[in-house]
Amino acid sequence: MKMFSTQIIVPVDSNSVLQGALEVKHVLEEMIGTYNLASQVSVVETGSLGIYDQGVVLAVFPDDVYYGNVMPSDVEEIVTEHLLKGRVVSRLAIDRNLSSRRLVEKETGKSQQKIVLRNAGLIDPQSIDEYIARDGYEALAKALAMQPGEVIQILTDSKLQGRGGAGFPTGLKWGMVAKEQSDEKYIVCNADEGEPGTFKDRLILEGDPHSIVEAMTIAGYATGAHVGIVYVRGEYFMSIARIKKAIKDATEYGLLGNDVLGTGFQFDIEVYRGGGAYVCGEEFALLESIENRRGEPRNKPPFPPQQGLFGKPTVVNNVETFANVPPILLNGSDWFKSFGTPSSAGTKVFSLSGDIVNRGIVEAPLGVTLRELIYDFGGGVKGGKHIGFIQTGGSAGTVLTDKYLDTPLDFASMKTSNVSIGSGVILVASEDVPLLPFLAEVARFFWHESCGKCTPCREGTLQVKMIMDTLVNRTADPASLQRLGKLLNTLNDTSFCGLGQAAPLAFESALRNFPEVFDQALAESRVPEACQEEA
């Protein structure tokens, strides 16, 4: 590899492209040519750095200087001042107090623990060589030298749990598929990220697609499968392009195909796209969609490890779950368990959104508190305001007051303290955001996304939406809260799949944590006369 004295990192992901990252990169490359710096300075395109509200960001190494809000017209100044004369362009340098990573490391001694995001923002995600240079595909080589059962044992010992929301033990799932006798088995990566407020899988796919290719291949070897499928949501154009390129490059390098790393093991990966259906995040609905059908869930049992895609044993894991696999194989299960809590090993990638200063993704050990995520990493509420409410886990998650700020988040926190971790959504609303219209939007979401297969969910989500609308419009009848409570229980108890079962979470938790908001809406309600007659 050619050595350069200076590297400029340009994070290119869907968010930064929106802010003009590609133009800045183009001008930067031109200027470096113009000033004859091409032999000393390399421009490296990378995934997200997790810094969002600073426009286009450039990082200059080894100087460790970050520039923010860079416009194409600023580039020449950075080249002539910083690169030629060694003077930092202070007007563009990011105030370190605004950058969560810097602030946290400097002042609280806390830093992100990067396992899943180990390469995101450090390597060019489109370069297989850079992935390999960072120990990429070494875990695959190590796995291929072991017995499949040993690979599964390491994962089981690591206590890795699924990161898509359900928290099912990954080693157990792989073991179930491995022991099935079948001529065909499948490894499916669930990248149909649709939980509102979640954008971590997109950034993993955009920032480190080879980690998914490597992990799926390891899963294939461990379970005896020869076909992998990545199901990516249809709107994720850059994720689709990057995972496709990673698959192509890995095939050319002999890391996929008929003879993986010369061991005779055969594995291929294909990409399927979603069509804008939240329910396809449910594993059976996703498999139905790959089989060219409407995304409606199937009866369980049998579960996918017994009868999944095309009726064959199938592993379905989330993107983030897969991204954990190579480091676990390289570093061992004890290393992995050294992060997190006794009930939940490792880290979690959280998506911070809403009225928060530093929106973006953060990877922290499980057991991290909401306070650390929102204030230490997230920089607090925008405009110095107070928290109105927090939604954790996604739309299918809990709505909380700031009394929950010190609750540790892990896979047990739903059971122990009624705080959902779900897919890692941390949505903060300031005191200015009214709760009921927000909940009405959540209700509308579930009504719209219900697939319609089972009655409780199809009709129940509509009824929840109608009650929420009457509370917002102050036309609720006095019995509506009792009806809502009963409805939520029915949805939870009788819905066919996780969508309807989890839909009540937001409303139940809001009723529990903000009873006064509902009571006030009821007190201010007047039932329209037309409706009174009917009653």
């Binding site: 929106l18 969002y52 649709g194 509102p196 979640t198 954008f199 249809g234 154009f237 060219n292 949505l427």
Partner: protein, 177 residues
């Protein structure tokens, strides 16, 4: 999916020309090769929607059903399930404005209201000049820059109501904002 998607006749189109048939056969065959003998309806439908102006005419679906050896009803069931696909004619550009939680909290309601005002249509309608279809969307996964919307394949984030006329004008003119 919304109730408007449950029962719907497929869109109207003239009889298929020979060019159409050749084109459709090519699309299906390429897809079959990419998926090792299987096909992905979704890939095919995205490509066809792009080709036929953001909707899927009934005749086209009928021909694809014949090519993949499936009943036309199965294909119709498939395309009417997924939000990104439409059998109803839509505008030249499809605006998907996110209304989910993170965008809601940071101002989506005012973005939707302003879009309705600027375009003179309700959500789910197409402008009279056939230029824009306005759709409310579930989370687009770009919550780091909410409120956000997508027009066709392009995403726009950190929106204020003031940004919208410029974005629409640029799309109308055929360029990027």
């Amino acid at each position: 999916m919304g109730s408007d998607k449950i029962v719907q006749s497929t869109g109207k189109a003239g009889a298929l020309s020979e060019d159409d048939r050749v084109f459709l056969q090519g699309v299906v065959e390429r897809n079959r090769a990419e998926h090792h003998g299987r096909v992905s309806y979704m890939d095919i439908m995205f490509e066809l929607e792009h080709h036929y102006g953001n909707s899927l005419p009934g005749e086209v679906l009928g021909e694809v059903a014949r090519l993949v050896g499936a009943p036309a009803s199965q294909l119709n069931g498939f395309v009417t399930f997924y939000t990104m696909l439409s059998t109803k004619p839509r505008g030249r550009h499809v605006i998907r404005v996110c209304t989910s939680g993170p965008c809601h909290v940071t101002g989506a309601p005012s973005i939707v209201a302003e879009l309705k005002r600027l375009l003179g249509v309700e959500v789910g309608e197409t402008t009279s000049d056939g230029m824009f279809a306005l759709e409310a969307s579930s989370c687009l996964g770009i919550c780091g820059v909410s409120p956000a919307l997508m027009i066709d394949d392009d995403a726009y984030g950190n929106l204020t109501s003031g940004d919208l006329p410029r974005i629409l004008a640029a799309k109308r003119g055929g360029g990027d904002a």
